[in-house]
Structure formats: C-alpha cells, structure tokens
Symmetry: C2
Subunit: 196 residues, 2 copies
C-alpha cells in the first residue's frame, strides 16, 4: 500500500462517523452482487496487477470526465470553471480508492469510509475535504451511471500483466461486483429514510 | 415482439404519468454509461438472440431470488410468505422487459415506462399493478446491487447462438450499459428532491 500522504484521505480515522450500515446488511448486499471469497482473492491479485498502472487508469478516467461537460461540472465552480486543485486532490484519493477496493478487508472500517465517501458526494459533505467552492452535490443518477465506465475501462489494464484469460475475467468480474457494491452503499445518504 | 397479454404491463399506455426526466438528461445519462448507436444495434441483435431463451433467463433469475430470503421477501407478504401469483405476474413482465431493453427505442414512451417501473419498486406504487399484499418497497440498495446478477447471468445466453466472440462481447457490454442506465432512472423516486 502506497504510504504517501493523500490530501483528505481519512480511511480508518477515529474522527469518521460510523456508517449506519451493519455487517449483516453488508453480507446481504454481497450476496445480491454475488460477491464471494473468490472475488476477494481475485481483487487482491487485481491490486498487484493495477498497482503500477494506477496513474494510467486515472488518466483514462480523467480524460473521460474532461470530455463530458456535465461530468466536469462536478469538479467545477457553480458557474462552470474547473477547479484544478480539486481535480488534483480528488485524483490522489481515486488512486487510493482503486487499491483500497482491491486490498482492504470489507469490514467495519471499510463500511465507515464508504459512508464518508458517500457523504462527500452529497451536499452534506461535498467540497469540505478540499475546502473548495464547487457545486454542492453529485446527482445520484450519475453516480450510478458511473458504474459502467469505472468497470469497463479497467479491463484492459487487468489484461496487461500476462495473466490467463480466466484470471483476467475473474479479476474483472470481482471488480464489477465491488464497484456495484460500493455504489449501492454510496446511495444511502441520498435516499429518504426507510427507502434505502 | 410477443403479443400475448401480460398482466400489469402498461408500456405506451395513455394512462401512465409522464416521466419528469427529459430527453436531454437521458442523453447525458447515455453519455455517462458510454451508450452509443452501436450499443442500440448490439441490443437489437441481443433481442434476436434472447427471444427464444427468455424463459431460461427468467429461470436463472427466479432461481437466484428463490435462493436468497432477503430477495424473495420482496415478492412475499410482510410476514414472509411468498406470493405465487405475484411472482408469476411479475415474471411475465420481466420477460417483456428483457425484450423491451433490447428492442424499444429509448424515447419519451420508454422514459415514461421507466418511471412507472421505478414507482412500482417504491411505496408509491409497489403491489398496485397486481393487487397483492406484499412488502411495500424494494430498498434502493438492492435495486442497485441487482445490476450485477442481471448483467452477468445474461452473458452465457448471448453466446449460445453461434455469434463471434466480438459480437457476444458487444451485446454483453450494451446490455450492461442498458441495465445500468435503467437502474439510474429507477433511482429517481427514492431520492430527495434536487439530489437525484
């Protein structure tokens, strides 16, 4: 795991509020996305495969965002000026998120940080980790829609280190499940009480 | 397109309320899930491939639901008794949904029916199309999590009609995009005003 200081990265911090989601509910969500121990293992392999390609993955994601004004808007001022310092700081956290998705145990600390990430997409906490004056919300519909690009664009990188087609497929499916699981968790603060 | 009467199926009905989602926003969502004309074409091919396998796909999905009490609960009474008539009626609509996903143009009528499907997952309209006494909500987190099984389980069926690996992959990716797009739309009535 990269040890460099990442701005606003607070995984495991005692100051984080605890997620209201319990481990039993996490088990049910894992069952719905068909996530098993084999997936956790495939993700650990994916972490090794992606470790020295993280910047290349981020180049693809940031290129995709930059090409779409409605996505770049989430890193911009309300009148549409991209905030470079915000893009740069979030980028470092995205990099850690890739490796955390592969390597962290999906336990209480992980759930707590998923809740923090969730809140940082909403008006409750967006911009606060970086002290920026950007729009105050990423609409949930685009957070959900992002499941596709965040999943599909990773596949070529998983195939780049000489693993068998079967191993690449296992890593890809595990990644898809893990992304979907996290977006399900990130939807929580958007939803009316009782409907989440 | 199958012409048999499907209970509760109301695609194109003049009685449906219009979706509050506009075609411009649909275009933005399509861009976020990377959906292009090639995907629409790949889905039309998928419709031909899946047409006579719909019941087999549904067997897989219903088997998956039946194996997971927390999913079967959404088709059950509040005290946990599965409602067979509800399962049967919804199954016919699922079958139509598979073909609609492949064959319908994603236009105003399609958006309106996505909104109807969305509402039928929530306490606003769940159970009303079938007049059943089931739980009154499918939690959004499991609707999102369902993106994975609804996507992944379709792949073997796409490969069963002798198409090239490239065609199967194109159909699969288009299906994945279409499912993600629809779940993004289905999240709308769950979300606080302004945050969707």
């Amino acid at each position: 795991m990269q040890k460099t200081m990442v701005p606003g990265y607070a995984y495991g911090s005692a100051e984080l509020p605890r997620s209201p989601v319990g481990l039993e509910e996490l088990d049910r969500l894992k069952a719905t996305v068909m996530f098993t121990r084999d997936d956790a293992e495939a993700l650990r392999l994916a972490g090794d495969v992606l470790e020295d390609q993280v910047e290349d993955v981020l180049d693809v994601w940031y290129g995709f965002v930059a090409d779409h004004p409605h996505l770049l808007a989430y890193f911009s001022t309300p009148d549409g000026q991209p905030i470079q310092a915000y893009l740069d700081r979030a980028r470092q956290r995205f990099g850690r998120w890739i490796l955390d998705t592969c390597r962290r145990p999906y336990d209480r600390s992980w759930l707590d940080y998923q809740e923090e990430i969730a809140l940082r997409h909403t008006h409750e906490k967006k911009n606060t980790a970086d002290g920026v004056d950007s729009v105050d919300n990423i609409p949930l519909r685009h957070v959900i829609a992002f499941i596709y690009p965040i999943t599909a664009t990773v596949r070529p990188f998983l195939a780049r280190k000489g693993h068998s087609a079967e191993q690449v497929e296992a890593m890809y499916q595990a990644w898809f499940k893990a992304v979907t699981l996290q977006v399900a968790l990130w939807s929580r603060p958007y939803v009316r009480d009782g409907d989440w």
